[in-house]
Each structure stands twice: as C-alpha cells, then as structure tokens.
C-alpha cells in the first residue's frame, strides 16, 4: 500500500528519498515517515530500474546469458559471471582446468577488494567526508587497470565463460597484482587514521542500526551484513567452489551487530582477500585456461543451483533446463534484496543521518536488487 506523500493525520512528515537522491547510491526509492528528525517508518519501493534480466536470460543461450549478469551487481561483475559459469558447468559436467580455477579465484578476490574499496569511499561520503572517496579510488583504479589489461573492460567484465576463462592472462598480470598488493598494504594505515579511528566517525557508527543474530537469520541477510551480527555465512567456507578449499583464509566475524561491526567486517575482509591472492598469485599452474566444450551448449533436462559469495553476500543462480540451448527459467537470489529488507527494522527510531549511515553499511547496489 503506497502512502500519500505529504503529511499524515498524526502530523508526521512523509518524504520521498530517491529515486534520485545522493544518499541512495543509485536509484533506490525510499518513502520515509518522519516525526521531526526521527524516523518512524522506511518503505523501500522497488522497480525503478527493473530491466527483467531474468526474462531476458530465457531467450539467450548458455554462453550469452552470462554477459547480462555483469549488469546486475555491477561491482561484482566477475563474481556474477563466475556463479553463472559454475552453474552451467554443473549441468554440462565439465571439469574446469586448474589454471582457470586459479585465475577465477584471483579475479573474484580482486573484484571483492575493488567493490569494498568503492563501498568504503561511498560510506565515508554518506557520513559527509569526501576525501576518503578519492583515496579509495586510488587503489580501486589500480585494480581496474589490471582488469582492463586482462579482459578489456573496467566495470562490466565478461571474462568467465562456461569451462574456464575467455582468454589467458596478460603477461604482466602477476607483476601488476603484486605491485597492487604492495600499494594496498602501504596505504592501509592511512585508511585507519583517516576514517576508522576518527571519533566523529565512531560516534556515528557505534550502536546504530543494530541487527541481532536472530534478526539477521530471519531476514535472510548474508554476506558482511550477517557476519557483522556474528552469523557465519561465507559460502567460500560453507560450500567451497573452485580452489577456495585449497587456500587459507579466515571468515571475518564481528559480534557487535551495529553499523561499526559491519564496517569492520568489510575492512578486514579486504585484508583476507589480499591473503588469498598472495597464496595463489605465485602458484598459478600452467595448462589450459579453458576446457574443451561444444560450440553450442545444451544442458540436460533438470534443475541446477549454484551459490557463490559476492562482495555483498550470497548470490544464487537457479537454472531450469528443458534440454534446449536456452534456459527454461532462470532465477537469481541476489544478496542486496534480502539485505535491503532489514533496513526498516534497523533504522526505526533513529535520525535521518543514521538512515544514511546504516544504509551505507548494507552496501546496496540497486541494479542487483531490481535486476
């Protein structure tokens, strides 16, 4: 039921935040009911950039539909493609060469760092600090350059294909990634000094947007949002895919449940990603980068499901095949959608400024929610 935007009978102010609003990082539409500065209710309205990606996928072949998914969660393009490729491979029952698996995991982790970097800058910008955004982009730019050299795109990468990756690595890839790791580790203190340790920042984050463990589970939160409340939900640990079972890394868990805990989870996750890359980058095996597959892929009749951990949480790809060259039905379980559902619960009774801060810690990417 859409409420009339204006003033309610109790004298509360009803405001449209978005679809075009600097706080919503895209085109999320929130209808918020305010009593003075205090939030009484938040109602997200979805659909503004719905592009029916799931329906489009039904008329695309198993090779083609992967490219559309880069446009879902555009900050985790590699990981989306990875999920789809894994799901199709499950149906085809192809063995992916080791080299391709290593490359995929390295790319996933680079994507995760790039995504968290952008979130970190945008988060600080939500709180009114502009400078961290540019500092985060300095590191993100290095990753983007690596991506561009490897697969030709900087945002909507189409590198993972069923059976492996599309091309072999760029000759300078290992050198560039190592240079990036060095750059990142030398700048990590700067991040803590500029933002994490700042007293204003901590006061804005601590005790705000509290999510209990039970709530996180019942609202279906995944990713850093769930892990900030102490729910172990890392798919890389629960159901390892590709070479994730061969690398050592910790699942970052915080028990605070507030915005600051979610902040810390993401900041620490970036370091874990660096750890994974460091283990893999020197050991990429020689060999094929793609398994031999038929030109036209046909999945056997049946249902296939694959879940992966994107930068925002659990992404599920569910394919129903009738045995043809195109999927009969595709459903994506996107992390942003369920994470958004807890927003109202989180911010009731807080101030407008807290809405922006708490929404920042959910790390919403709107095309991922709407699809």
């Amino acid at each position: 039921m859409i409420e009339e935007v204006g003033t309610t009978t109790e004298g509360d102010l009803v405001i449209n935040v978005g679809p075009q609003h600097p706080a919503t990082h895209g085109v999320l539409h929130l209808v918020i009911t305010l009593n003075g500065e205090t939030i009484k209710k938040v109602e997200p309205h979805l659909g503004y950039i719905h592009r029916s990606i799931e329906k489009m996928c039904e008329s695309l072949t198993y090779r083609q539909f992967i490219y559309v998914t880069s446009r879902m969660d555009y900050l985790s393009a590699h990981i989306n493609n990875h999920a789809c490729a894994l799901c199709v491979e499950k149906g085809l029952q192809v063995e992916v060469p080791q080299r391709a698996q290593y490359i995929r995991v390295i790319m996933d982790e680079l994507t995760r760092i790039a995504s968290h970097e952008l979130w970190w800058g945008a988060m600080a910008m939500d709180l009114g600090a502009f400078t961290p955004f540019f500092h985060a982009f300095r590191e993100r730019e290095t990753i983007n350059t690596i991506m561009e050299e490897t697969c030709g795109a900087r945002l909507t990468m189409n590198y993972m294909v069923p059976g492996g990756v599309m091309f072999d690595l760029h000759p300078d890839f290992q050198k560039k990634v190592k240079a990036f790791i060095q750059q990142y580790t030398s700048k990590i203190n700067e991040y803590d000094e500029l933002v994490t340790g700042n007293i204003i920042f901590q006061n804005r984050m601590k005790g705000i947007g509290y999510v209990t463990k039970e709530d996180a589970i019942s609202y279906g939160c995944t990713g850093p949002v769930a892990r900030g409340s102490g729910v172990a939900s890392d798919i890389r640990k629960i159901a390892p895919y590709d070479v994730y079972d061969k690398v050592e890394f910790d699942e970052v868990l915080e028990t605070g449940g507030d915005s600051f805990a979610r902040y810390l989870v993401r900041v620490k996750e970036m370091q874990q990603s660096i750890r994974i890359i460091e283990q893999l980058i020197d050991n990429i095996p020689e060999g094929d980068f793609q398994a031999k597959t038929k030109a036209v892929l046909k999945l056997p009749k049946g249902e296939f499901y694959q879940r992966v951990e994107t930068a925002r949480g659990e992404l599920g790809v569910y394919i129903i095949s009738e045995g043809g060259t195109t999927p009969y039905r595709i459903k994506f379980r996107s992390p942003g959608f369920s994470n958004l559902s807890i927003l109202d619960h989180m911010v009731r009774g807080h101030k407008i400024g807290d809405l922006v801060a708490a929404m920042g810690t959910l790390d919403l990417v709107i095309p991922d929610i709407d699809r």
Binding site: L127, I200, R204
Partner: protein, 358 residues
C-alpha cells in the same frame, strides 16, 4: 612601502582640496561602498578557488587548472554562467520571501565587513562596540536561511532550515563567550583597541591557557556558525540533497554560495583580530631588532596572511572530518562547549584581575 593607509589619506586629501565637505562625505561613502562590493566579489571568487585547490591537494587531484594560470579564473567563469542561468521560483513557493532570502544572507555578510580592520588605520567604520556589532549582526543571517527553507515549499529545505536555526542559535553562545574572554583582557569592545593591545605580543601567546582554550572553542563554534563541515547539517548533501538552498538556482544560489565564503572570511578575520593581533606584526617582548624587521612587512599582508591561515584551517576540517548527527551537534554545544567556555571565561577573568597575563 606599499600601504593602504597612504592611499586612503591621499584620496581624502585630494577630495578635500577640490570639493566642499558634504560632497566629500558623499563621494567617500560611494567609494567605500564600491570598494566593499569589489572586495566581496574578489574574496568570494578567490576563496572558492582556494577551497577547490585545497580540496584537490587533499584528495590527490589537480583541481581547476584550465582557465588562467592554475585555473584562477575558473570561479569567475562559473559565476558568469550562474548569472546567465534562469532563476527558477518553484510552484507553491512564497515568492516574496523566496526571492528576498538570498539578499538578506548577503546583506548581512556585507554589513559585518564594516568594523573589520584590514590594515593599519584602514577600516570602514571604527565603531566602539566593534565585536559586539559583529556578533549581533552576523546572527541575523539565520533569518535569511530560515526564510529560504520555509518559503521553498520543499521538505528537505525545511528540515535544513530547522537544523540551521538550532545550530546557529546554539553555537553563537560559545562563539560569543570566546570573544568576551578576550574582551575581558583588553577591556574594550573596539576592534582597533583590541589590536592595539597586542602591540607587544598576540593574545594567544599572552593570555595563557584560557586564551588557547577560547581560541579552540572559537574555531569550533564559528565552523558551526558558518555551516561548514563537520557541522554542515543544514546543507548535508547525502541526507538533505542541498538543505535550505535545494530549490535555488542561478544567481540566487550563487548569492548563498558567495555569502558562505564571505562569512568564513569574516569569522576568520575576527579570529585573527582577537587572537593573532589583526594587522599587528609579530612582536616578541624586548627583541628590538626582530620587532623592527617584522614591522617592515606591510600590515595588510599580516592581516590577510593570518586570516587565510585560519581559513585554510577551516577548509582542512571540511575535507577531513565526517559530519556529526543533529543530536550529537547539539550535545557537543550544550553539554561540552558551553560549560567549558563559561568556566574558561571565569578563569580568564581571574587571569585578567590578577594580571597574570604577559
């Protein structure tokens, strides 16, 4: 040596020699008005450019660098663009108040320029209650902001204006008390007297710890009073899009924008006057030779140097800190700054009575 005092004297003598006293007074009023408007424009453009450059340095960017050397004319071009833009008045707005608000904000900013002493004997109006006048008149700008927020017929504007009202009214108390603590030392409200009293050292050095505390409180309070980050809640763009000036466009917006920078200049010049001796050169006790060398630097350079240093400080705040929340903002003032400044005033009074200052 270049001296602003010499120029004013020469003009005055020349006018007096050629016209009768009434005409001279009239002509000087016009000249002062033109000079004030020119200063207003130059300061506004210069400070916007400075802010963009300061931000660029802190954000690892280049900043404006196309128009003129180091992009110095970029803000002039932007202003030209804003002048040529259509000034929209939204439907349902209170047209009279909506169009009046930017002028009130700007007029207030210009009025406060009057008692500021830019150089030795170079002052528009040497009023004997200078600092009182400044704090009284500068508080009028909140009327313009409230008007803009209310008349825009926009909820974001309204919220911004309400925040701004609460904020400016609260932080004026601390700013006022910080000013008074220096007035306690000098025993005069006149800006000229305050500067003269720092002949042998600036108050920040002479006034012991209370002076340093009041300087810190003053800087925090004026940052809040000029609606600058980390206290920019009235125009918090990530929350309220642009706060009280959301609906303004074209030159009406530019007036708000320029007035903000003039206000920064004014509060920083007041800070420089009270704590760093205004145009008074750096003098250290009995070091005759050192003091003599310092006297060679023109007084206007001393004044603008100190003011720009303080402006840089405020810009540095903006590009470093995140924004406070509205309740934290008011807590900071009423629970911390105000009690501290009251106590500090008491301390300062004791220091002044006992003659412990240098």
């Amino acid at each position: 040596m270049f001296s602003l005092e010499g120029i004013t004297k020469a003009i005055d003598t020349w006018l007096n020699a050629h016209f009768n006293s009434t005409v001279v007074l009239l002509a000087e009023c016009v000249l002062v008005g033109v000079a004030a408007i020119a200063l207003f424009a130059v300061l506004g453009l210069g400070l916007v450019w400075m802010e963009r450059k300061v931000a660029a340095v802190m954000q690892i960017r280049l900043g404006p660098n196309r128009l003129g050397p180091k992009g110095i004319f970029q803000t002039s071009a932007d202003t030209l663009k804003l002048i040529m833009k259509e000034g929209l008045t939204p439907d349902g707005a209170d047209k009279f108040l909506f169009n009046l608000a930017p002028f009130i904000v700007m007029i207030v900013a210009m009025l406060v320029l009057a008692p500021i002493s830019f150089a030795k004997n170079f002052q528009i109006w040497d009023i004997n209650i200078g600092v009182l006048y400044v704090s009284a008149v500068s508080s009028l700008s909140v009327i313009g902001i409230l008007m803009a927020g209310w008349s825009s017929n926009n909820k974001y504007s309204l919220l911004g204006a309400m925040r701004s009202g609460a904020q400016i009214v609260s932080y004026e108390l601390s700013a006022g008390l910080a000013i008074i603590s220096i007035v306690v030392l000098t025993g005069s409200l006149s800006i000229n007297d305050i500067i003269q009293s720092q002949q042998n050292g600036w108050w920040i050095f002479k006034g012991h710890i209370p002076a340093i505390i009041s300087f810190i409180i003053f800087i925090i309070a004026v940052t809040a009073e000029t609606n600058r980050a980390p206290f920019d809640l009235a125009e918090a763009e990530s929350e309220l899009t642009a706060g009280f000036h959301t609906e303004y466009s074209g030159m009406k917006f530019a007036l708000f924008f320029l007035a903000e920078y003039i206000n920064i200049f004014i509060v920083c010049s007041i800070g420089a006057t009270l704590f760093f001796g205004g145009w008074m050169p750096l003098h250290i006790g009995n070091w005759e030779a050192f003091n003599h060398i310092m006297d060679f630097i023109p007084s206007s350079i001393w004044f603008f140097g100190k003011t720009i240093f303080l402006i840089f400080l405020i810009m540095w705040f903006r590009w470093t800190f995140p924004r406070l929340r509205v309740d934290q903002l008011l807590n900071l003032e009423w629970k911390y700054l105000l009690p501290i400044s009251l106590f500090n005033l008491l301390l300062m009074t004791v220091v002044a009575i006992m003659g412990w200052h240098f």
